[in-house]
């Protein structure tokens, strides 16, 4: 393809994507001039380039579209969804044309008059309402040949001559001296000459259609003045024009949309004018250089100018101007980049080239590994040092090349706003698409592969997930549905979340469909949990959309998405809550090309397991701490107080046990050496380098006997096994292998089509020793053995699901007390809800009390305006610790609401923490601590005196680190009430400052999810060194899955407690303090 054409296609395609996004933004923010200008500019460029390349169809469509945009800009048309749709339609047409252009290298035959007519109609309608469209037809420069002169040439000539010209200028110095000694301004003849020039120049400009728009409708004199100022200042007139700065002088022009093309025209006119006035040619050149050099400066400021301009930007009929370089020097002046961002330090490189590079690097890495392995066997080889360097360089090269392939995930999202917009129109829903973390980078190959699944999922969320506005309002949700995309790095993975706040998955249709498709029987269905039923949507051909819309419900569903994502080693998990929405979590590796893999062996065959999915390695034997136990022949392992389901790799792969020998092995029989690589030179179970791969025929017999020994032990109860704990989807499984070798960097190659249907391999690769090895996919293994496995795993999964759903939401108890506005308190703090017969309420000196569970329970009014009823039952919230209770009297208990809590207004009222929006209403969150002290002024000391439970812990200093003021406010009273002295810090940095101050604490409680430095980093920082190194750490998190728990431990937390579990927290603190007290 023609270079020019292919470049045009690349650029235009990029512009098209940007246009889509920008138009959607404009639709939402119709008054944003900046976006409108940008859109206008993009379309304009497309139109111009099409004209230049001789693509009339494209040009016409773009032109018609541009006209409409022009009307937007003029303010003649307001930006409405209908018009935006129309523009989008024309963009779609352009895209179609571009596609065909790309395929055939020629503009397709056809006619766009229908579309153009529509666009023109809009323009005409707007034209009637407003000013006539100022868009002139492209005309050649010749239009300005006959300037309408108001001042005769002679007059000007005279004026020019009378001024001190360059010939008879101050002192007849030679040109050079003049140039250095006087400003150009003086050289051309000073103020007067400039005045005259400007007059003539102005006439030329007015005659030129392409630029006259700037000057129309503006007072002539002021305009001339401005022009004179412009030229004068450009030429360096010192104070000639009221000391106006260059910027001030040009501002009016730029305000009106002066652009590059205009500048060229203006410059040409100026050059012509000067020539006509008989100015020395060399001098003209100089002037032009000066003018040219101001170009950057002048054009750089349009944005500021546009912002400062209060009134609508005057229609500037931008017109594609064949680049006419007025003077040679002009070319030397760097054209400012769009937006004046300066020189862009990037180049375009073809993807093929990068792919080739990547492949070469992959091969290089492999060869390097091979060499390393060879040299490792030689002691003290002279190759070691250069090889080390080679290795180093290779690694750097690999990293560098990898980086070139990284692209922000936003690229894959570019189309989504448009899709969502179209969907919302089509489905008549209001949808808000929130995209977070768009600059998260990942390998472009991965990016390409997830593009479609992502699009599909977002569509699904918008189509199936979100309800129509009416339904939403009826359900008490805002009419605008929200689809949130969030991408972030976690470990070696990218996590992409797609969440909607829609109706969630409804069980019934899924059940029905599952029955229809014969996936389950009615009996089986009854036994399934909600979560298990949800998982059916991942099965092939499972679409529950009641009607086939143009967006989804074609029977191509989540199974395709899942298989696509799993193809690249990713996983999809999702959670759904009826009425509250669905949340998908996609986890994908950063790159596919080169991964670290653990080489393991089972039944004499070696396999690779990607390191990314390996969680840990456990060595299990009969006499060690870790022992494989069996439940009805199903092996399990106790691992940190949990049962880990195990899969024996040899069984999962139906490998024949080793002792069957090579003779019975079909392949080995055909080709001896086929099962080479079983270098059992080490004792069974011992880790060793994979050195014996180059097995020789002679050694085969010895090895056979070694294998036999191994097998005997294998059956023995005291067998030594290695368990690779791997991440398979949401759960962990233990893969039992015979041996574990090194980890190696491998280049994943796809398996041949014949083997593609085997779900358990994610690819294959060539190892350093030249042998081919299959790469295992732990998820595939789990699935292949799933029936008994799924059961065991489901419990853990459910737990994780729940913790995932509880993220950042708090259960609030809403009640009325004294005022019509609702009040609320976190449910976690409330021990019980009671209705107490008012007749049992007794009065004492210090207030009302009731006998409650064998104790006197003081009653406190939640609001001054509450009056305890005369008869009947009185509602109250009971707060208690182990010993005492307090009743908070309220008027009426309203509801329990689960939601994210954001205390927006902090209250000065002592009983109120602040105000938050709960269930759509402004609700006061009460301060429990305040009421507790109301009931027991001596609560703290009393607590200390009587408490044997808190023995070691009483009066201990606790540091509470939590970014949420709400949680701080809620936990502080809880902890204080329990007799601790609490210091709170709003984030890790604040906490670390306390450390630097030398403060010491007995326990540190830290939130995990915090901005900037999260709890894990915070823990690592503390445990690494310093004053707080030995202080016990308790993690506080809304995520309390096993994984989180383990991660917390790794990071250095001594305990891990759910945020909402007050009792567990107190128990944990107590336990931790007791433990440290004992050890001390």
């Amino acid at each position: 393809m023609d270079d020019l054409l292919s470049e045009f296609l690349t650029e235009t395609n990029e512009s098209m994507e940007e246009l889509d996004t920008q138009l959607i933004t404009l639709e939402q923010d119709p008054n944003n001039k900046e976006i409108l200008n940008n859109i206008f500019r993009l379309v304009h460029t497309i139109k111009g380039t099409c004209g230049f390349l001789g693509l009339p169809r494209l040009e016409k469509v773009a032109h018609a579209g541009e006209n409409v945009l022009g009307k937007f800009r003029d303010g003649d048309l307001s930006v409405t969804p209908e018009y935006v749709t129309l523009i989008l339609e024309s963009l779609d047409r352009i895209k179609e044309l571009l596609e065909q252009l790309e395929a055939t290298e020629a503009e397709p035959e056809g006619n766009d008059s229908d579309l153009i007519a529509k666009l023109n109609k809009v323009v005409e309608a707007a034209g009637k309402a407003g000013q006539p469209e100022p868009e002139p037809e492209p005309e050649p420069e010749s239009a300005s040949v006959e300037p309408i002169q108001e001042v005769s040439l002679e007059e000007l000539e005279a004026a020019f001559q009378s001024a001190p010209g360059p010939e008879d200028g101050p002192g007849d110095e030679d040109e050079e001296a003049a140039a250095s000694g006087n400003s150009l301004f003086d050289q051309v003849g000073g103020t007067q000459a400039v005045e005259a020039t400007v007059d003539l120049f102005y006439d030329k400009l007015i005659a030129d259609d392409s630029v006259k728009g700037f000057f129309e409708g503006i007072d002539m004199d002021s305009q001339r003045h401005k022009l004179a100022a412009f030229v004068g200042t450009a030429l360096g007139a010192s104070g000639a024009y009221d000391g106006r700065s260059l910027r001030e002088a040009h501002a009016p022009l730029v305000e009106q949309g002066l652009n590059d093309a205009h500048f060229d025209t203006v410059a040409k006119h100026l050059a012509d004018t000067l020539e006509e006035l008989g100015v020395d040619e060399e001098l003209i050149s100089k002037v032009m250089v000066v003018i040219g050099s101001t170009r950057t400066d002048i054009l750089a400021g349009p944005e500021e100018a546009a912002e400062s301009a209060g009134e609508a930007v005057v229609a500037a009929p931008e017109k594609e101007q064949p680049k006419q370089v007025a003077v040679a020097e002009d070319t030397a002046v760097a054209k400012p980049k769009e937006g004046g961002s300066g020189v862009n330090q990037t180049i375009r490189v073809s993807v093929d080239l990068l792919e080739d590079l990547m492949n070469m690097v992959s091969e290089l890495v492999l060869t390097r590994n091979q060499l390393m392995q060879m040299v490792r066997r030689l002691d003290d080889s002279e190759f070691s040092v250069p090889l080390q360097r080679l290795s180093h360089c290779t690694t750097e090269l690999q990293e560098g090349v990898m980086k070139t392939r990284m692209q922000p995930i936003g690229n894959a999202w570019a189309k989504l706003p448009r899709i969502i917009r179209d969907l919302s129109l089509e489905l008549d829903k209001k949808i808000d698409l929130v995209m977070l973390g768009a600059d998260t980078e990942l390998d472009r190959q991965v990016l390409e592969l997830i593009k479609d699944p992502l699009t599909h999922m977002v569509r699904n969320s918008a189509d199936h997930g979100l309800e129509g506005p009416k339904e939403r309002l009826a359900a008490g949700k805002p009419a605008v549905g929200k689809v949130t995309l969030n991408a972030y790095h976690e470990g070696g993975h990218i996590i992409i979340e797609i969440a909607d706040d829609g109706r969630g998955l409804s069980l019934e249709p899924i059940k029905k469909k599952a029955l229809e498709n014969g996936l389950v029987t009615q009996e089986e269905l009854e036994a399934l949990t909600e979560q298990q039923i949800h998982q059916f949507i991942m099965r092939p051909g499972f679409s529950t959309a009641t009607k086939v819309t143009s967006v989804s419900g074609r029977g191509v569903g989540m199974d395709v998405v899942r298989s696509n994502i799993e193809k690249i080693g990713g996983t999809v998990e999702f959670t759904s809550k009826q009425g509250q929405g669905t949340r998908f979590l996609i986890k994908i590796p950063l790159t596919l090309a080169i991964v670290a893999a653990l080489i393991v062996e089972a039944a004499g065959e070696r396999f690779a397991i990607p390191q990314l999915s390996v969680v840990e390695l456990v060595r299990a034997s009969g006499d060690s701490e870790h022992r494989i136990e069996k439940i009805n022949d199903t092996p399990v392992l106790r691992l940190r107080n949990r049962l880990l389901p195990l899969v024996r790799l040899d069984e999962a792969l139906k490998l024949e046990p080793l002792h069957a020998g090579n003779g019975h092995d079909p392949v080995a029989g055909l080709l001896p050496g086929a099962s080479a690589g079983n270098g059992h030179d080490a004792a069974p179970g011992e880790q060793s380098q994979a050195e014996g791969q180059t097995e020789s025929e002679a050694g085969a017999e010895d090895q056979d006997s070694a294998e036999r020994t191994l097998f005997e032990e294998y059956d023995n109860s005291s067998e030594v096994k290695f368990i690779v704990v791997a991440q398979a989807g949401p759960q962990h499984i233990g893969i039992v292998v015979d041996r574990v070798y090194d980890s190696e960097e491998i280049v994943v190659k796809p398996v041949s089509p014949v083997l593609r249907d085997l779900g358990i391999f994610s690819g294959n690769t060539i190892l350093g020793d030249g042998s081919v090895i299959m790469i295992l996919d732990p998820t595939g293994i789990a699935v292949s053995t799933s029936e008994q496995f799924a059961e065991a795993a489901s419990a853990a999964q459910r737990e994780e699901t729940q913790s995932a759903l509880s993220t950042d939401t708090v259960s609030l108890l809403v009640f009325h007390a004294g005022s019509p506005e609702p009040k609320a308190v976190p449910l976690a703090l409330v021990a019980r809800l009671e209705e107490i017969d008012v007749s049992t309420i007794e009065s004492t000196e210090s207030g009302s009390v009731v006998q409650y569970r064998g104790q006197l329970m003081p009653l406190v009014l939640a609001d001054r305006n509450i009056t305890i009823k005369e008869e009947g039952r009185q509602s109250m919230l009971v707060f208690s610790d182990e010993r005492r209770s307090m009743g908070l009297v309220v008027d009426e208990i309203v509801d329990i609401v689960d939601q994210a809590l954001d205390v927006e207004l902090v209250s000065s009222d002592p009983g109120i923490v602040g105000t938050a929006v709960v269930d759509g209403k402004a609700t006061e969150i009460i301060d429990v601590a305040y009421f507790l002290t109301q009931a027991f002024g001596d609560w703290f000391s009393f607590k200390g005196d009587s408490s044997s439970r808190d023995g070691d812990g009483y009066g201990s200093n606790i540091l509470l680190v939590d970014d949420s003021p709400f949680f701080r406010n809620m936990l502080m009273p809880v902890l204080t009430v329990a007799g601790y002295k609490v210091t709170a810090a709003g984030d890790a940095t604040e906490a670390l400052l306390l450390r630097d101050e030398g403060r010491s604490f007995d326990v540190i409680i830290s939130d995990i999810e915090m901005p900037e430095m999260d709890g894990f980093e915070f823990a690592a920082e503390i445990k690494a060194s310093g004053l707080w190194q030995d202080i016990p750490l308790i993690a506080l998190s809304s995520h309390t899955g096993t994984k989180d728990f383990e991660r917390g431990r790794e990071a250095g937390f001594d305990d891990y407690v759910a945020k909402s579990d007050r009792d567990a927290l107190l128990a944990a603190i107590n336990q931790t303090l007791t433990a440290t007290g004992d050890s001390a």
Partner: protein
């Protein structure tokens, strides 16, 4: 049998229906039987190779091997023909099918023969169904019969089976 000609007409593996000109074939023996593959479809002839078994793969797939840095799937022709595994070292010929290379494991590679086109005959109807499936026809050579292997069929076999 009557549709034998039409089935081979798809010609994916470079096999021909009824040869009209004399062509060259690479001959090979499997369990004493002479087979032939058109010489142009053979990319490589290999001696015994180190093959990595692929667990759970179709029985015809002997494994994968490293052919000069490329990973090639090895197909056991014996298994495909329903023959027992052979003894001793085997050889293989590398063929390409739908842009993928496959190594066909056979007992012994013979010479390249130019066979007269008029010696061609369709497979006898009494031949074992598996063989008939994988053979395009038979050449009557001096003292011996050469069965022409249908490479495309051989390599499609695994896929069809999986799809079924």
């Amino acid at each position: 049998m009557s549709n034998e000609l039409t089935t081979v007409d798809h010609n994916v593996g470079g096999e021909i229906a009824t040869p009209s000109v004399d062509e060259e074939y690479v001959t090979m023996t499997i369990a004493g039987q002479l087979f032939g593959i058109r010489v142009l479809t053979v990319h490589d002839v290999l001696g015994p190779q180190k093959i990595t078994k692929v667990p759970l793969a179709p029985s015809e797939v002997a494994g994968v091997l490293n052919l000069r840095g490329r990973i090639v799937t090895a197909i056991s022709v014996r298994n495909a023909l329903g023959l027992p595994d052979g003894e001793g070292a085997g050889m293989s010929v590398v063929v390409e099918h739908e842009e993928e290379s496959y190594s066909l494991l056979i007992d012994q590679v013979g010479e390249v023969l130019k066979v007269p086109h008029d010696a061609y005959e369709q497979c006898p109807a009494t031949l074992d169904a598996r063989w008939r499936e994988l053979a395009t026809g038979v050449f009557r050579l001096d003292g011996e019969l050469m069965v022409v292997l249908d490479v495309a069929k051989l390599l499609d076999f695994g896929l069809n089976k999986n799809a079924a």
